[in-house]
């Protein structure tokens, strides 16, 4: 193995911040006044309410019940793991959901500034995700261009539940900028709730909403393939985050079947969707589903080609596992090793740029 692959990467780590408090000092006077006068503060996304069980492991919560938001805890719980040398952090800040592209993009910009100065500067082992307000993709692309010179940012963050399906041509300025700068497009579970988070409407339970995230991710992957994103941007990589991977085989079987029957409608899709997916899409490993036995998990790993497909993630501080073992014991060590090292470095070209 290449020596540069030696430090493992945790590809999904959260900075649980959803207020404007740390952002204010990165705003100009106009926006500081707006934030203060209008009381613009808490923007916790309804997809990830911090008090719900899956949003923070109980033994990681602070005394007041909130998820841990301190760098020291992250250093201890994430970077302290054996074989983990780097962590890709993201902040699922609710400013993405604002309908005002002005306030939304200003707060996204401030969030990126805050991450760069107060997290990445403070801990050189961290890598960042560029937050954008995607309602105006041209403006989002400008933010990407602005941030791209900081090689510590390795991806652009989008939500699985979005204002419009991510394959839509109007979104393409974001992908053009990402591809130009070797940035990955990360699509994370959760929704900005501009539409109901399920195709049936608003679910009654958080369990139902969370389980539905697997469908949202499939809808996005399908949209990007069918619209021709990967024909237009052949170097673009997408990472699907926190939506599991058990759905991949049946999703691809069906997508290939649909393509065989209906591809005349999308002539720019020249290969089987499964081939496009395998070339362009990677998946962070959490959450592992609850399998009846090791056999079903191991077969699923074979079916999805886990060797190349999966990226190691703890999903800190979300609650995806108990104890210290992020990955079930039955997963073969050579796959775990690839998930931690080789696969992340192959997926995120900018990881190696910093290491160099």
């Amino acid at each position: 193995m290449d020596a540069s692959f030696s430090a493992g990467v945790d590809c999904d780590v959260h900075i649980p911040e959803s207020t404007t408090r740390p952002l204010v000092k990165y705003l100009n006077q106009h926006w500081r006044d707006e934030v203060a006068t209008r009381g613009i503060n808490n923007m916790e996304l309804a997809s990830f309410p911090s008090r719900v069980a899956f949003c923070a492991r109980s033994d990681w919560r602070r005394a007041d019940g909130a998820p841990p938001a301190e760098l020291s805890v992250l250093q201890n719980k994430v970077l302290g793991r054996p074989g983990v040398g780097h962590a890709i952090v993201s902040c699922l800040h609710g400013c993405q959901a604002l309908f005002s592209e002005d306030l939304g993009s200003v707060l996204a910009h401030a969030t990126n500034e805050w991450i760069a100065r107060e997290w990445l500067d403070a801990e050189p082992r961290l890598r960042g995700s560029i937050l954008v307000h995607a309602l105006n993709p041209d403006r989002a692309a400008s933010e990407i261009e602005h941030r791209a010179s900081d090689v510590r940012f390795v991806q652009v963050l989008l939500m699985a539940g979005s204002h419009q399906l991510l394959g839509n041509r109007t979104m393409w300025p974001i992908y053009a900028a990402a591809e130009r700068h070797d940035l990955v497009i990360a699509i994370h579970a959760g929704s900005i709730n501009h539409h109901a988070p399920t195709p049936l409407g608003w679910p009654a339970t958080f369990a139902e909403e969370y389980a539905n995230q697997a469908l949202s991710c499939q809808q996005q992957a399908l949209s990007m393939i069918c619209e021709g994103v990967f024909s237009q941007f052949p170097r673009l990589k997408v990472v699907l985050m926190e939506s599991g991977f058990g759905w991949v085989p049946s999703f691809l079987w069906r997508a290939d079947k649909e393509w065989r029957s209906l591809r005349a409608e999308v002539p720019w899709v020249k290969e089987r969707p499964s081939d496009i997916f395998r070339r362009h899409v990677r998946i962070t490993c959490q959450p592992f589903d609850r399998y009846p036995s090791a056999n079903e998990l191991l077969r699923t790993l074979e079916l999805i080609g886990a060797d190349d497909m999966l990226l190691f993630s703890s999903d800190f501080p979300h609650w995806q596992f108990d104890g210290d073992e992020v990955i079930p014991r039955c997963v073969p060590p050579h796959i775990v090793q690839k998930m931690k090292c080789e696969n992340p470095y192959r997926t995120y070209p900018r990881l190696a740029k910093v290491a160099a």
Binding site: A53, A160, A204, Q219, S250, K257
Partner: protein, 367 residues
């Protein structure tokens, strides 16, 4: 696809299995075929106004389909009318050559997501009278579906009670895309009536509830919409299981129609994981969700899953259970599955009989 109308050379063989087809679509020749079973007041309403839709067009969806009327090119009856509207031609093209012992009519017409709730009630009742008079009375191999105005569960329950005694009806018909998530208590009177009358619910993919088919709005293409529609029943199963429907109605039998079945194992494993994490939110969900799938839910086979390797399909079915799958053709639609060629895997005669007829016989309580 073309189908020979000549008698099948092997149809006389004693080896040949008869088939129960749980997804056949019957259509009226023209709208008045159906409206003549409505009260005068509603006939007049249909003439003056027609149906109202939760989508852009009066006559259908904004996604031009794969084929006119979604139909196989060869399924247009030679004597005129829509595909699926001519019983004689259906016998000649499908029931006879494919050895259909029993066929269940899945009624995707009329649109039961009608905005005018009183009209929806009248339309459903007419559709039920029409099935009896023009299909099941004339062809005993065909069984009807009790069509219900599902967004008015009290009216639905009344319609079910009115029809349940007639064995010509094999099931209650719903689509997953109700106005609110289908597992909500609002819809429980329908499930209660189904359990009380020991009738399965056929939940056929589709419907138009006015909400986008994805959590991120409307896709651009039919190729996307078609696959996303097939995902909706997964959301419906999550809704029913996490709302405790199968705990409240433990004998309820739900058949998911035209959504495929490849997703079933992983959906169960995922729901089990979420159930484990959020257990305290779900006091009415006593069992791991996959156990309700295994106990209360069956799946129709069409469109048949096309795995990369045949062995994967065998493994998939072994994970779901050979007892959970019911053959469906989707006649006369474009993505029709032929019972002779749909299954490209080796099956024991027991497995084959289970999928082609015996599982349906058991779910529908056919003699």
């Amino acid at each position: 696809m073309t189908v020979s109308l000549a008698p099948n050379p092997v149809s006389s063989s004693k080896q040949r299995d008869t088939v129960i087809d749980v997804d056949i679509h019957a259509m009226p020749r023209c709208p008045t075929d159906l409206t003549k079973y409505m009260a005068k007041r509603w006939q007049q309403h249909m003439q003056e106004y027609g149906q109202s839709n939760r989508q852009a067009y009066v006559g259908g969806t904004v996604y031009p389909k794969a084929a006119p009327e979604l139909a196989r090119r060869d399924s247009w009856p030679p004597n005129g009318g829509l595909p699926g509207s001519d019983l004689d031609f259906m016998r000649l093209q499908h029931l006879n050559p494919n050895d259909i012992e029993i066929g269940v009519l899945q009624m995707v017409y009329p649109n039961i997501q009608e905005r005018n709730s009183d009209l929806a009630i009248a339309l459903c009742s007419a559709a039920n009278d029409w099935q009896l008079a023009e299909w099941t009375d004339l062809e005993p191999r065909l069984k009807g579906s009790i069509v219900v105005p599902s967004n008015d569960p009290i009216a639905s329950k009344e319609e079910i009670s009115k029809r349940a005694g007639n064995r010509a009806f094999a099931q209650i018909m719903m689509t997953p895309r109700t106005f609110e998530p289908i597992g909500g208590k609002r819809y429980w009177p329908i499930f209660e009536a189904a359990a009380e009358h020991d009738l399965p619910i056929g939940m056929h993919a589709g419907g138009a509830n006015g909400l986008p088919v994805t959590a991120s709005g409307w896709p651009s293409f039919y190729i996307e919409e078609h696959q996303c529609q097939a995902m909706v029943p997964q959301a419906a199963l999550m809704s029913m299981i996490f709302n405790g429907v199968f705990e409240q109605f433990p004998t309820l039998r739900l058949l998911v129609v035209e959504a495929g079945f490849g997703f079933v194992p992983s959906l169960g494993w995922r729901m089990d994981k979420v159930w484990e994490t959020n257990r305290s939110e779900l006091p009415n969900v006593k069992l791991p969700p996959s156990e309700y799938l295994r106990r209360n839910v069956w799946f129709s086979t069409q469109p048949i899953e096309e795995t990369k390797e045949r062995a994967e399909l065998i493994e998939l079915v072994s994970w779901i259970g050979w007892d959970r799958l019911l053959f469906a053709s989707d006649y006369p639609h474009w993505d029709f599955d032929d019972p002779r060629y749909a299954f490209k895997i080796p099956m024991t005669s027991l497995q084959k009989r289970a999928v082609l007829s015996e599982n349906a016989r058991s779910v529908y309580r056919f003699k």
